[in-house]
């Protein structure tokens, strides 16, 4: 802060932070080879015994995540020196070939206690003061930690008892088949011609227990079941993280207590925010109807039409309703949407991640 005003004169630099990424260099991940005393193998034989007492999902550990204070500090250092300078530009971006892009990957360490939010904010502030990261990057990151993380915990702890079971939009679709995470995800090359928009988050959730926040939103699915599934699948998820994130942000099930509008989008937004999701896709992101229509585009318009009573008065989404009212083919869109939903329920649309979580051991 500078007096009563934020450094740089603007409170919110989100508008600078929605750029789609270029394909330039991506700092490599820091991976810690498991030490002999803390390896997967030793855990199987450890005094705490077999840890997998119910079916589990996803690929085995590969050292991506910090399991100690030292590992967490090394990852904080990697983030502040190599990633932060470009963090802001690509905050909401999605790239099939670079799952971690310029994300900090620090939330798992913050949420375990390996890092404290204060020291992370201070470390980022020092980088800015030294002139080594632009304001939009620093502000964009600080708002996640000082803003969102704290806000969501506060919402979660002070909400009424029924908050976690809310369903303001009456969403009742079963979880998409993509939520069944394979132990061994297919390699990226096998998804060349299919829907990278769903296969990429599914693949990274399986391989790394993580996907970007832009990929975590799914307003059609039953909110309580979605919360439960994400809680198990994501490396940084806890009850306090997932309840407000899914009920409030991801599905708008609280009717707008947390989010100012539902995070829904059609294929055009996904194309804009990603480098390489849509180009090779067999679906047409601009089409609303017909066999080739992008399912996201069809379902986006159908979502608006179905929830008009609840959402039309929302000023942040009002322009979308003006556009909806200009569609000449809404009936055809809605009947295509019914087909898409039926296909989703029977897995016809989903070519990847359709294997059940296998009941193996760690």
């Amino acid at each position: 802060m500078e007096g009563e005003e934020p450094v740089g004169g603007r409170w919110n630099l989100d508008a600078d932070n929605r750029r789609p990424p270029d394909a330039s260099s991506r700092p490599p991940l820091l991976r810690t080879p498991p030490s002999s005393t803390h390896s997967t193998r030793s855990m199987r034989r450890s005094a705490t015994g077999c840890l997998m007492i119910s079916p589990c999902i996803g690929a085995p550990p590969d050292g991506t995540w910090a399991t100690s204070r030292e590992g967490a500090l090394a990852r904080l250092e990697r983030f502040t020196t190599r990633v932060l300078p470009r963090f802001g530009d690509h905050q909401d971006a999605m790239v099939a070939g670079a799952w971690h892009l310029n994300h900090s990957l620090l939330s798992h360490a913050l949420n375990l206690g390996l890092l404290h939010p204060r020291e992370v904010i201070e470390a980022v502030g020092r980088v800015h003061e030294a002139g080594r990261a632009p304001l939009n990057a620093v502000e964009g990151f600080v708002r996640q930690v000082l803003g969102w993380r704290e806000f969501l915990w506060g919402v979660y702890r002070t909400a009424d008892e029924g908050y976690a079971a809310r369903n303001a939009l009456g969403a009742d679709a079963p979880l998409p088949p993509a939520s069944a995470v394979r132990r061994r995800p297919r390699c990226a090359a096998s998804t060349t011609h299919s829907r990278r928009c769903t296969s990429t988050p599914t693949r990274t959730t399986s391989s790394a227990s993580w996907c970007s926040r832009t990929s975590r939103r799914s307003p059609a699915s039953d909110p309580t079941r979605m919360t439960d599934w994400m809680h198990g699948a994501f490396i940084d998820a806890y009850d306090w993280v997932m309840v407000p994130n899914v009920i409030g942000m991801g599905t708008f099930a609280d009717g707008g207590e947390v989010a100012t509008k539902p995070y829904v989008s059609g294929g055009a937004y996904i194309d804009r925010m990603s480098v390489d999701y849509c180009r090779p896709c067999r679906f047409d992101r601009t089409a609303r109807t017909g066999e080739d229509a992008c399912p996201f585009t069809t379902l986006y318009w159908d979502f608006l039409a179905r929830n008009r009573d609840v959402l039309a008065a929302n000023h942040r989404i009002g322009r979308a309703y003006a556009n909806l009212d200009r569609l000449g083919d809404l009936e055809a869109v809605r009947s295509r949407a019914a087909e898409v939903r039926a296909q989703l329920a029977t897995s016809i649309l989903v070519e990847h991640g359709d294997g059940l979580g296998d009941a193996g051991t760690l």
Binding site: C56, G58, T67, L112, P117, R118, D228
Partner: protein, 157 residues
């Protein structure tokens, strides 16, 4: 051994692995025993990602090693539930008091309250939820943006 009994136990949960936080800050290793419980009930409550189970349990073990190196007596145990782990610990060590930091989750907090554990406020966040409630009270609808600006206006923001 008699000198082993009657210590204060600090019960550290798997997402509270920081000795600078309220439950462990300033504790004397000579008069404090640390309890950590790996609960079957927790491990079985949903299909977990392998990497997540590995992360949390490994981080607990490494933190236990670190506390032991700092001179704390550490009881890291596997139990059928958090409650069962607590009861077995109390039977084994007869602590004078069991202290824990308020868990981040509501159900965790209720579990500890029901067991009569002494709770200290959670300072793993910069804004405690009671302070958050005061901020929101009387303001009507508040957004993250309102909250964030309020936090940044504070000293050091």
């Amino acid at each position: 051994m008699a000198e082993d009994r009657g210590l204060t136990t600090v019960w550290v949960w798997g997402d509270q692995l920081d000795a600078r936080l309220a439950h462990l800050r300033g504790r004397d290793p000579g008069s404090t025993r640390v309890l950590m419980v790996v609960s079957d009930q927790k491990l079985g409550e949903r299909p977990w990602h392998r990497q997540k189970v590995h992360l949390v349990v490994t981080a607990m073990r490494r933190f236990a090693d670190r506390l032991a190196a700092d001179g704390f007596a550490v009881d890291l145990r596997r139990a059928t539930s958090m409650r069962a782990g607590f009861e077995a610990h109390v039977d084994a060590y007869d602590p004078s008091d069991v202290v824990a930091m308020e868990p981040a989750s509501r159900t965790g907090t209720r579990t500890l309250e029901a067991l009569g554990v002494t709770l200290v406020d959670n300072d793993h966040f910069l804004c405690h939820w009671r302070e958050f409630a005061t901020f929101r009270a009387g303001r009507g609808r508040t957004t993250m943006e309102d909250f964030y600006r309020w936090r940044r206006r504070r000293p050091g923001g």
